[in-house]
Amino acid sequence: MIEFRQVTKRYDSDHTALRQVNFGLERGELAFLTGHSGAGKSTLLKLIMVMERPTAGEVIVGGQVLNRLPRRQIPYIRRHIGVVFQNHQLLFDRTVFDNVAMPLEVMGASPRDTGRRVRAALDKVGLLNKEKMNPMQLSGGEQQRVGIARAVVNKPPVLLADEPTGNLDPALSSDIMNLFGQFSQVGVTVLIATHDIALINEMGRRTLTLDHGRLTAAGAPDTGGVSGH
């Protein structure tokens, strides 16, 4: 589903964030991306989102080589990738429902479809009864779950998360991780950047480790997610 071939990313200054990174993730696979701060985790996720372009090498998502993707095609790729960030990026000028509905609105889904799918996503993260609230009224963990609902509302085949549990307590963190586990069970490829080693150990999943932009451990492809399906 996701494949990196000899990917190097150099930012304007001759600072190299990623060096010749190679790995692949199967459909339904859940993997962790770890490494020290500044190791290049966010950069790797941004390359998948086409927020950045690789300096060398190829990034392939869903069989499509992203390097040569024309600018105006980028939105259509992003519709197939859900993202969750530590600073969940919710909009406080609208309700929880409207926040979650954004990916559908962007696609031009009908109001009926939107209602159905937003409620399904909110149900999944256990916030169905909060749809009319403003995200500001929610706790940190709830806000993060709204972010997840938004990321999965249009059933993307790929789900990326950048430090999704960064400022949550351990119990909430493992709740969120279980949620990610459930998505991978239904065939979503999930890649989670985190430096929460305890959590990674608890989950016992494949782990990609970055060190100064180099992939030092990639683990074996682990399709446990779909085999149980």
């Binding site: 966010s42 950045e52 960030f85 962007v106 031009g108 009908s110 209602g115």
Partner: protein, 334 residues
């Protein structure tokens, strides 16, 4: 569950889903446009003072050239009848006696192109000049009357075209005893010549003001883009196309244009009302049929449409410069 009542129609629809898919797509596209249009309008409404100021600036900038154009059109309407005031004056050689001048007058009067001829003999002319100029004393020093006999010729209706008058002038210049022929087209013709120049000046002004309007709206929309930065970034993050993120701002521009156009119409109507009294009196003095016409319905509609297009264009400039290169990269977190 909250979605239960919605399930039924969803399933029965399954059979003809393919057929109605494009329809539903088109419908939701329209729904989206309506929603964005309404939402942009509401945003303007929520900041009434700022919006009103922008509308007023735009209204003034639009009303000014339109008012001038209306004035010009009215003037051109008047001068379209300038030929009626055309008069040809023939000055007769000083040494031609009155008898011969009378003969010339008769000759002219017989010409088919001439409606009427008036002979002003030199004594009479001097007397009139003396009375009207106030130079009585100075004139007393003159040994003899410097003024010639004069024929005032009013051309026939059919000869009042530019070519007709010119032919008449040439004919009269060729007459024995006529020294010089002058066409007195009066102030209306001078005005006519000037309206061409004025029209160009007004159009130049209109273009400058339109550019100003585009820049003002562009700047206002830029501020609006800045204030909705988060929303734009999230929309781009979840796969919003450029068209999608631009749309609210283009509508905002068009609404600014609409408001500006309406303010311009109101300003035009007010100044027309304010000026109508004096203009009527002035036109009465000149026995002119001049009247300052306001915009008719088509004109008003055109003004509104142009205003909306300018607003839209201004928004487009802002969107092109400030929105397209906004990338969600920086919200992803280091």
């Amino acid at each position: 569950m909250a979605t239960d009542p919605r399930r039924k129609p969803e399933q029965s629809r399954g059979a003809n889903r393919a057929r109605s898919a494009w329809r539903e797509q088109a419908e939701s596209y329209l729904t989206h446009h309506r929603k964005v249009a309404r939402d942009s309008a509401q945003r303007l409404w929520h900041t009434p003072v700022a919006s009103l100021m922008t509308w007023t600036v735009m209204g003034v900038a639009l009303a000014l050239p339109v008012a001038l154009l209306l004035l010009l059109t009215s003037l051109q309407g008047v001068s379209a009848g300038w030929e009626s005031s055309a008069r040809v004056t023939a000055y007769i050689d000083l040494d031609v006696p009155l008898e011969q001048a009378r003969e010339l007058r008769g000759e002219m009067a017989a010409d088919g192109r001439v409606a009427s001829v008036e002979l002003v003999d030199r004594d009479q002319a001097l007397k009139e000049f003396r009375a009207s100029s106030g130079l009585e004393d100075a004139l007393d020093y003159l040994e003899e009357n410097p003024l010639p006999h004069t024929l005032l010729v009013t051309p026939e209706e059919s000869a009042r075209s530019a070519e007709g008058v010119e032919a008449l002038v040439r004919f009269m210049e060729g007459m024995e005893g006529v020294e010089r022929v002058q066409v007195d087209l009066g102030w209306l013709q001078r005005l006519n010549a000037m309206t061409d120049l004025l029209a160009r000046a007004v159009w130049a002004l209109a273009i400058l003001l339109a550019a100003a309007v585009v820049l003002v709206i562009g700047n206002t929309v830029r501020l609006s883009i800045e204030s909705r930065r988060d929303e734009i970034l999230v929309a781009k993050l979840v796969g919003g196309t450029d068209g999608f993120v631009r749309r609210p701002f283009l509508y905002t521009g068009a609404w600014f244009g609409l408001g500006g156009g309406v303010v311009a119409l109101i300003l035009l109507q007010l100044s027309l009302w304010w000026l109508s009294g004096p203009i009527e009196r002035l036109a009465g003095l000149y026995r002119s049929d001049f009247s300052l016409n306001g915009l008719n319905f088509d004109g008003a509609l055109a003004l509104i449409i142009v205003a909306m297009l300018l607003g839209w264009l201004g928004a487009w400039v802002a969107v092109k410069r400030h929105l397209d290169d906004m990338e969600p990269g920086d919200i992803a977190g280091g």
